[in-house]
Amino acid sequence: MKPRPIALLAVVAIVASACSSAASTPSPAGNTPAPGSSATPAPAGNTTVTLGVDLPLSGAETPNGQPTLNGVQLAVAENPVPGYTIKVVAKDDALNGVHDPQTGATNIGQFVNDSSVFGVVGPFNSNVAQAEIPVSNAAGLLQCSPANTNPGLTKGAAALQLRSTHPDQIAYVRVATTDDIQGQAGADIAYNVVGARTAYIVDDTETYGKGLADQFETTFKALGGTVVGHDGVGKSGQSDFTALLTAAKAKNPQFVYFGGVTATGGGLLRKQMAQLGMANIPFGGGDGISDGSAATANSFLNVAGPAGDPSTYMTVAAVSLIPDKAKFDADYKAKYGSEAGAYSASGYACTQILLQALKAVGPDRAKVRAYVTGQTPAPTFNTVLGNITFDANGDTSQHIISDYKFDPTTKDWAFFEQKDFTSGVTTTAPPAAAAPSAS
């Protein structure tokens, strides 16, 4: 028998009203406490909140983003916050295999629109941060970058422009120190560790690369060295640097410094130096070429190949001699089966800071932001990197750079010293047991 339309409508109406009455039943998990329930604001049971992560996770950038994301996930697993279930949502800001500012800004916009997100870890690259800071600042969503080093993101007129919506409400902090410190460290290696008095500088004309290279130039000159040339890679996707390097060779530099990342040509530059008989000239770069051993596909050392000569240096704006290094390394290896990346601990520290805020004030974005950057005096965060305080711009109190050198036996970067630039330069060598010379 055919059901009559009237009867059908009636059934639909009954079901619909049942649903709507179920939906309108007050749920205690919401923001407003249900009428009649106890006055304690603590949520009954576990509330699921989202920790956003924005990193470059595909293509040539995988060796940068993935170990950092692993650090975030390790921190979430090891630092439970009572009353909350933390869901990590990671978004990739690489487009066609290279970090992309527009993609990063889109990702942050999606986090802003997702009301369960209480904070974001990321981004990795400075030009991505330039696109993201205006978005997160306008929304008051706190971002903690594990790796951005460009000074203009937090300091000076450029930074005020980025956070023009709420100039006095900092929504972006970072645990890496800035390129003005990293550039100094590079110049310090060239002048004091290598003993070079002349240097040739190449940058990739990006926000990060040029800033780093310019600071290297300033410090190297201040130390008493001579910069015999400073040229840039004029286009993305350039593969041939032989002409640029031959021009450099004519100036007989004792050191070649590269401000840039592997994806914009760092590895090929080092490789072509060898093809032009310049392999014996020491080479240095910033954390943009810190992306794993020669066995890691697309890493600097992998692309540079046999030319990743012993005299290749690299600085990282991260703390290598972290207070509890042995435990962190062991935990990381147990979980992921590989060695921690240069920024794994930094990703861990950013996560700890956001979780600490969550624990103290709950998942409300405005409160999280105010807790981390709006208090006087600024709170001290106890992290895996040590104690961190953020200054008025959102920069870390730690001015620490780690220096690495290529080790031809392991075909990997070997850490050889850590420098603290907080007051003057304090150099710390690693404990003897960890030195690469140990047999």
């Binding site: 595909s58 293509g59 040539a60 995988t62 690489a94 066609n96 295999g97 290279v98 004309t205 040339g229 040229d231 840039g232 890679v233 004029g234 286009k235 996707g237 350039q238 593969s239 041939d240 032989t242 002409a243 640029l244 031959t246 021009a247 060779k249 004519a250 994806a263 090929l268 490789k271 060898a274 093809q275 032009l276 008989g277 596909a297 697309n298 992998n302 692309v303 190949g305 046999p306 030319a307």
Partner: protein
């Protein structure tokens, strides 16, 4: 003055120019015969490098090959494979994307060419992803020799020389490119098929009335042009040991510029344009303006076109193809 550095820069320019010239030939041949700017050509070159990557990983070559006999055999295999595969890809593109539009307004095949370019890039993106790929450099990239030019002084003007380094892979690429360009000239000028290509370029209808099979001739042009791009793809992997799905764009743009600079439709002009652009790039780097090299290249292109719209050699109508 340092004669060694200048010599080194000339050698650098020759290597880069050889690759530009090989790719530029394909642009200019296709334009010569059907007046189409084949924007997909740079991507054909890129696919050629991936075909080489596939071949090497399939036969299990991971490193430099040191045995000379094995190396020669492998190089012949690599070039033959990439050139034949890319030649066939070129013929397929012509058959399915351009031939149906041969009588359509000029804009239609141009837009189609851009579409084919995206299709090729996306196929590689799907198959391989967006990362750089290391292609084993079968010729040791560091092997070579170095020499010093004599130092001398003329009337108080001292000419010194620093060490000039020449790697075998660079020598190989330049010799190979020049050999291919000479072979192409001989083919176009001395063979019946070459004559068919030239006559089709001059007047398609008249050639057809004289018994030239137009479709076969145009397909042959695409085959040769794409095969040369395939050869350039192999040369690229030998030189840089890296490839990426969007490599074709940069190289294609430069080579297209080379073809226009030399006089599009003119094969000799394409070769000259390729080397010229490479030398402009190299010497702007030598002067410390590497970051401006692209702007300088295009400024010179604009100047040439303003004063000589047909390019340096012009389109030699009677011989174009």
């Amino acid at each position: 003055m340092d004669a060694g550095i200048l010599t080194q820069q000339l050698l650098n320019g020759l290597t880069i120019g050889a690759m530009y010239a090989l790719i530029a030939l394909g642009y200019t041949m296709v334009y010569g015969i059907i007046e189409l700017i084949n924007f997909a050509h740079g991507d054909v070159f890129m696919v050629g490098s991936f075909v080489t990557l596939w071949l090497l990983s399939t036969i299990g070559v991971q490193n430099t090959v040191n045995d000379p006999v094995a190396l020669v055999g492998l190089l012949i295999l690599m070039f033959a494979f990439s050139m034949v595969v890319m030649g066939l890809v070129g013929v397929l593109i012509e058959r399915f994307a351009y031939r149906p539009l041969r009588r359509a307004p000029r804009l239609a095949p141009l837009i189609t060419a851009i579409g084919v370019s995206f299709i090729l890039q996306n196929i590689i993106q799907v198959l391989y992803g967006t990362a750089y790929f290391n292609v084993p450099q079968v010729i040791d990239p560091l092997a070579g020799f170095s020499f010093k030019l004599p130092s001398f002084a003329i009337g108080g003007f001292a000419v010194t020389s620093s060490l000039v380094t020449v790697t075998w892979v660079h020598v190989f690429i330049v010799v190979l490119a020049v050999a291919m360009m000479v072979a192409l000239q001989v083919f176009v000028r001395r063979t019946n098929l070459g004559r068919a290509m030239r006559s089709t370029a001059i007047d398609r209808e008249a050639a057809q009335l004289m018994g030239v099979d137009i479709n076969t001739t145009i397909a042959l042009t695409f085959f040769i042009g794409s095969a040369l791009a395939g050869a350039a793809g192999v040369a690229w992997t030998l030189n840089y040991g890296l490839t990426k799905f969007d490599n074709g764009f940069q190289a294609g743009l430069k080579s297209f510029t080379a073809a226009v600079l030399g006089g599009i439709g003119n094969t000799t002009g394409a070769a000259i344009g390729g080397f010229l652009i490479a030398f402009i790039e190299v010497f702007s780097s030598q002067l410390g303006y590497s970051r401006w090299s692209e702007a300088i290249v295009f400024t010179i292109l604009i100047l040439v076109l303003v004063f000589k719209p047909t390019g340096i050699l012009g389109q030699q109508v009677a011989e174009r193809a």
